[in-house]
């Protein structure tokens, strides 16, 4: 089996929830040894995400946690106790990367912030992914699920035209920070190869998102204009939006960007008389009359299956796509052929499909699969303490007795 490019890189992973874990998930799938650190006093909060209750070991049943922590190792360590912090420092000494996404005061309170870690290991690359960055007046605002999109400015641009700002269900801020985190770590690794030195990466989740609407900021700089919410409409193109199709809450997206495409569209939908009217003949007229146009188009789509509409229009070169529901994402023929999901068996929850973390980047020389399912709580305590750090069985047992480590959450 070809060697995975990040083999030999060791990541000490304190991240929780989604943003940091997504970045470390990518690293793990590309071959790095990722040692995830939780505490029996405090599990990764994401384990409570959508887990069933009234079952055995609910913390092992979260679909959220189990998806984003494949290929990683898991240990438990209480960093608030001196012995725990000491062991963490020993891991930093043999590590390449430390990842954390606490609010900035937390690592400092542990006595484990970058200046301390740099002393222990000048080669260490530390990445912090706090919600608002490590500095500045907002740094101690707690980041919560529905805050980063709003703070970044992208929510203001999202929503129906007559309504309030809206956000995406999937908290696009988390995975955005994750993918940027991965890129940043790669850059720091490259630098380290040249200079032999590590560095600190400060990834503010807000700033990572704001970069997605950079042109709106330049617009403000040029014209002192705050762009309005447009729903699904486009500043100059029409038709452009989502139209209802046959069935329960099923939709298709259609976007026509030129007069040639408009001609093709008219032919594809059976050349109804309205498609040939003056008021829709050129893009500016279509844009001005799009309320009427949208109704007419929906009169056609509502009678048809959304996949059928997509394929009919794409065949003649018109941009169209079915609005996929979650169930359809699993069964979509294209995503299936791309091999985006892999079936993995895991203790306690059994067999399920999981998305391959590095699937969006198909590499011709480094084919990637999920090598191991998400770990159980403290599953690799013995390996990390015993083999990596050379502790004896007695030493490890005393850590267990003192509740510095363990495999069962406290207070359950």
């Amino acid at each position: 089996m070809p060697k995975l490019p990040l083999e030999g890189i060791r990541v000490i992973d304190l991240t929780m929830f989604w943003s940091g874990p997504y970045a470390t998930n990518l690293l793990a799938s590309l071959g790095a040894e990722v040692i995830k650190i939780e505490a029996i006093q405090r599990l990764d909060g994401w384990r409570g995400g959508a887990a069933q209750v009234d079952v055995e070991k609910p913390w092992e049943r979260s679909p959220l946690w189990n998806t984003v922590n494949t290929d990683k190792l898991d240990i438990t360590l209480d960093l608030t106790r001196p012995r725990g912090a000491e062991i963490f420092k020993r891991l930093v000494k043999i590590g390449d990367i430390v990842a954390e996404n606490y609010t900035p005061r937390v690592m400092k309170n542990f006595g484990l912030d970058y200046p301390v870690l740099k002393e222990i290991n000048p080669q260490i690359i530390m990445i912090s992914l706090p919600a608002h960055g490590s500095t500045g007046p907002w740094k101690d605002y707690p980041g919560f699920a529905a805050s980063i999109e709003q703070m970044s400015g992208i929510s203001q641009l999202t929503g129906y035209p007559d309504g309030p700002p809206r956000m995406t269900e999937l908290n696009v801020s988390d995975p955005t920070a994750g993918i940027n985190g991965m890129a940043a770590i790669m850059v720091a690794l490259l630098c380290r190869q040249m200079t032999g030195k590590g560095q600190h990466i400060d990834l503010s989740q807000i700033e990572a998102l704001t970069s997605f609407v950079g042109d709106a900021i330049v617009d403000y700089s040029m014209n002192r204009r705050v762009q309005p919410r447009r729903g699904n409409r486009h500043p100059s193109m029409a038709p452009h939006g989502y139209y209802r199709c046959q069935g329960d809450d099923l939709w298709v997206g259609i976007s026509v960007s030129s007069d040639e495409e408009w001609q093709q569209f008219g032919r594809a939908i059976g050349a109804p008389s309205w498609a040939g009217e003056e008021r829709f003949a050129d893009s500016l007229s279509r844009w001005h009359n799009q309320d009427e146009l949208d109704k007419l188009i929906e009169g056609w789509t509502i009678k048809r299956d959304h996949y059928e509409v997509m394929n009919t229009l794409q065949r003649v070169g018109v941009a169209a796509g079915a609005v996929l529901t979650p169930a359809e994402v699993l069964t979509d023929p294209h995503l299936k052929e791309q091999g985006v999901f892999q079936t993995v068996e895991r203790d306690i929850v059994g067999v399920h499909p999981y998305p391959i973390p590095s699937a969006p980047m198909k590499l011709s020389e480094s084919p990637i699969t999920i090598r191991r399912p998400s770990p159980l709580l403290g599953e690799h305590n013995d390996y990390v303490f015993g083999e990596l750090l050379g502790m004896s069985k007695e030493e490890i047992q005393s850590l267990v007795d003192d509740q510095i480590t363990g495999t069962m959450p406290l207070g359950i």
Binding site: P2, P5, P63, T67, T135, P137, W138, Y141, S152, G153, I154, Q156, T158, P164, M167, E169, L170, V172, A183, M186, A188, L189, C191, T195, Q199, H200, I201, D202, E207, A208, T210, S211, F212, V213, I217, V218, D219, M222, N223, Q227, G241, Y242, R244, W251, G253, S255, V318, A319, G321, P326, V329, L330, L335, Q338, P353, P360, M361, K362, L363, S364
Partner: protein, 418 residues
């Protein structure tokens, strides 16, 4: 030696609009040398997209183009011509990375596919970014940001919290062109990884980045909900867009905009109501028993949500987002403003972090741009040069780098090669 992380990397960009150019911008701003190939006379379509100063279109003044192409050099070239294709290959020999976002099979038709180019440059890393990837039933489908948002499942789940009437509230595309930027970020991460991989494996490779997949990958946790809980609550909560969790995502309108309220615990709601209506609020008949016993957010919002909201609005509508945020944060209540671009501009937080950067450009004068999506302590992000004019570096590259004469340049221009 440069203090910039990627100062030794050379990148060739044959891409337009957003996904490819954003990928290479992320490298250019960290010091990589990026040569951007543009179509002669027309240039990158982003030049025609705007926004423009005073809304007057001008190919050297498009806000989108200027933002995406900082630090790069521009060369016009038509690889459809024989000379053009030949010059393209000469350039490929001099670079580490090629980033392109042409429809699949375009590069093959030009004789510029990975197989051909890697023979000229075995260490080449070629990153291809497309809406649906290089193979599969949709790979030749036409798409843009709207289409990719829906084909990845993202639009179905927006807005968060659902809508009152799914028939009247269509799935929503996030504002701007975020899915294009997501594809660009993914391509940049993949490319950086391939550079590391080249060190370990000793070879370059071809990267196939699909925009649909990039976003579907962001959606990952929605899918396991389905298979973990086939007949349960999550199917209903996430399988349908009809609003289940009323008021869970609480936008509160203020005098000058919106704030968002992330309160989940009983004590946070209590403190918030005290702020809004004073200590006496609990004595109001409407709120009898609201905070008794063990607090459950869903029940609280279902039973008392409307009344609570009307009380809160009476307070927020009289204050600015800044005032409401400051008052709430001082009591530890998680409320933050929904920032507009103007708010971001004025933000003392972003100013202290030096997030924005002012860049001078011959055609627009000084404009403010967002800076780095992350900060590196040793090897900083920096914009040293503004986006290039169309073909600004033709002479520098063709004559200086590749050794063509000025007369050859003239004839290339006349025949449309450049």
């Amino acid at each position: 030696m440069s203090d910039q992380a990627l100062a030794d990397l050379k990148v060739l960009e044959y891409a337009d609009f957003i996904s490819g150019p954003f990928c290479t911008k992320l490298m250019a701003d960290l010091g990589a040398e990026v040569i951007k190939i543009e179509q002669p006379s027309l240039g990158d379509p982003a030049r025609r997209t705007g926004p423009f100063p005073n809304d007057i279109p001008h190919p050297e003044r498009s806000g989108l183009f200027l933002y995406l192409n900082t630090n790069k050099r521009s060369m016009t070239l038509d690889p459809l011509t024989q000379t053009g294709a030949s010059i393209f290959k000469e350039l490929v020999k001099t670079v580490d990375i090629l980033v392109e976002n042409m429809p699949p099979s375009t590069m093959e038709k030009l004789g510029l596919d990975y197989e051909s180019l890697s023979q000229l440059n075995p260490g080449l890393i070629m990153t291809s970014v497309t809406p649906f990837g290089q193979f599969g039933p949709y790979s030749h489908y036409k798409a843009n940001d709207l289409i990719c948002c829906q084909m990845s499942g993202l639009a179905y789940h927006t807005p968060a919290g659902g809508v009152d009437n799914p028939e009247e509230g269509p799935p929503l595309k996030p504002g701007g062109r975020q899915s294009d930027f997501i594809a660009g970020s993914t391509a940049a991460a993949a490319t950086m990884f391939a550079v590391i991989a080249r060190q370990t494996l000793g070879v370059g490779q071809h990267l196939d980045v699909s925009q649909q997949e990039s976003i579907a990958s962001f959606l990952r946790h929605q899918v396991p909900f389905y298979t973990y809980d086939p007949e349960g609550a999550y199917q209903r909560a996430f399988g349908s867009r009809a609003r289940i969790r009323r008021g869970a995502f609480g936008y509160l309108p203020c005098k000058d905009g919106y704030v968002i309220n992330g309160s989940r615990e009983g004590y946070q709601w209590r403190d918030l109501m005290v702020l809004a209506a004073g200590d006496e609020w609990e004595k109001d008949e409407r709120f009898k028993g609201a905070l008794d016993g063990e607090f459950d957010l869903a029940t609280f919002l279902l039973e008392w949500g409307e009344s609570v909201r009307s009380v809160l609005l009476e307070w927020t509508m009289k204050h600015t987002t800044g005032e409401v945020t400051a008052a709430a944060q001082s009591k530890g209540i998680p409320i933050v403003p929904c920032n507009s671009t103007e708010d971001l501009f004025e933000s003392s937080h972003l100013a202290e972090r030096e997030f924005f950067t002012e860049i001078d450009h011959s055609q627009t004068g000084k404009l403010t741009y967002p800076g780095a999506p992350y900060q590196l302590s040793e090897t900083p992000w920096r914009v040293d040069r503004s986006a290039p004019l169309l073909g600004q570096h033709n002479e520098e590259i063709l004559c200086g780098k590749l050794g063509y004469s000025k007369q050859e340049l003239v004839s290339m221009r006349e025949s449309g090669v450049i």
